[in-house]
Amino acid sequence: MVFSFELFGQAVVTGILIGGIFALISVGLSLIWGVMRIINFAHGEFLMIAMYIAYFLVAKGGWDPYLTILITAPALFLIGIIIFQVTIRPIIKDPPINQIMLTVGLSLILQNLALVFLKADVLTANTAYTRMNFYLGGVVVRGSQLIAFVGSALAAFILYWILQKTDIGRAIRAASQNRDAATLVGINVRSTYLLAFGLGSASLGVAASLMIPFYYTSPTVGLFFGLIAYVVVVLGGLGNFIGTLVAGLIIGLTESIGASLLPGSLARVLTFGIFIFVLLLRPQGIFGGKQK
């Protein structure tokens, strides 16, 4: 493969832009995982649902993709808290394997519901933003990806602000640091869990709307993004907000630079290699985070 400066520049630009989306998707998982110590193995499938909602609004309803955030974010918040209330709350004190299997079961249900009712077709929304490109020398900057990057940064910032500056956020952080102490000072841990789950899911709604102009949707699209989110959260350090953002960029860059250097889809192996390495040697992530 011929390697050129342009090719590398392209990989870096794409990597950073995609990395922003990875970060937003992962921040939601990190919030849920960090607060209630449950890995939601259906996280990717939540994103998939949001992408279908966004897709249908755009393709069938003629909505502007970015306006669909008004629907996807609240819808995912609602779906998140309903699923939490019905399935996750009852097993919050069960052994980890039961919690894992429950969310794995949820992911199977959501994925295959989509397969049964929406078929396996890969759907791509064609929007005004889809072909909006800029050129920096020989490097193409896709407008839709740039918007997604900025939007992700904004959404992540809003989530950060909610967690740092509002009472709700403080309660969530307190509950995640010490459940018993939080209960003692009068925080209703159960409703903070509910909120954290809702917020973590809502961030996926935003991510889906931002992605729909340049990313296809299909019943299995969540698989890939779910895995990416586990990698990013572990790399950034569980519950470490800034770490998660940086890790999102690192994985975005790994994927795109890897793809330009390695044949076929071997870049993915690089991503998992980093993941395994971090899990073995620095389980608290490269930027520190909660001990496991």
Binding site: I39, T87, P90, I91, D94, P95, P96, I97, N98, Q99, I100, M101, L102, V104, G105, L106, S107, L108, I109, Q111, N112, L113, L115, V116, A120, P219, L223, L227, Y230, V231, V234, P263, G264, S265, L266, R268, V269, F272, G273, F275, I276, L279, L280, L281, P283, K292
Partner: protein, 333 residues
Amino acid sequence: MKIQIKKSTILIGLLLIVGFILPRFAGEYYIHISVLVLFYAYMAVSWNILGGYAGQHSLGHALFMGIGAYTSTYLFTVIGLTPWIGMWLGGAFAGVIGGFVGYLCFRYGVKGPYFALVTIALAEAAVYIVTNIPSIGGAQGLEVAWTGNAPQLMQFDGKSGYYYMILVMTIIAVWLSSWLIKRRFGYQLLSIRENEDAAEALGVNTLRLKIQATVISAVMTALGGTFFAQYFTYINPRAVFGEGPSVQILLFAIIGGIGTVWGPVVGALVLIPIAELSRGWLGGTFAGAQILLYGTVLVLTMLFMPNGILGLYHKFLGKFQNRQSDGGKSEAL
């Protein structure tokens, strides 16, 4: 415990008798369903040694199934080596990989959900690695060429040959699993699952035992992988290394009763016929309906019978016995 031993012997005996006469009466379709039941029971029993007994929940066990399937099939297609030998080479390969993975994870203290994540990552990495090696079929996978009825090449005319093969494998696996659990090795695995620090303090070499359990489980799973390839005559990276097979390997153990000898068998015995028959009724129209059913059963199981079918059974049994022996002496809880 004594009762358990006798029960195992009786149940294995029953399985033998029913198992061996079944093909005389059942049609091909029912033999096919029986093959699936036995195959998944076998895989779940294999997973259960690591996941159930030792409590190390691998969510990427397809890694070992894939190694077994690919090793024997590659050797068969390229140098014509009989899968009867290829199967053991695959098992050995999986055992080495399992030992290495186990050593790395447990040496560095990877536990609980983090172990699950490492195993998922390894299996996924395997999908992409195999996909990118054209000489072993790449994304297309490998086909097992049909050579006619050739038992010496693990190919049988009709389904009964495969049926007897997987029946024997399952019986051996269940026997091995029930034998292991009533000796020091098995009890020590349980103690690791129950409380690793306490086990270590009492002289249990937890690192070595967890690695051994990984190796045994990996080898057994890989042998099943060869059977899978021979029976379905076609494998590709997603079908044997993917998250689908990883989940199906452990699903029946969880639903039947994790960490018990018979749970994995019961889970497969109850669930697979339902899933297969309902697929027959629905026709091929609903791709995904079967996995949808598995997912639903899994969620309902976790919500309403967290210890699986056998757990529920023992709970009723336990309540009954308690009432008989000591009135209502449950205030100890």
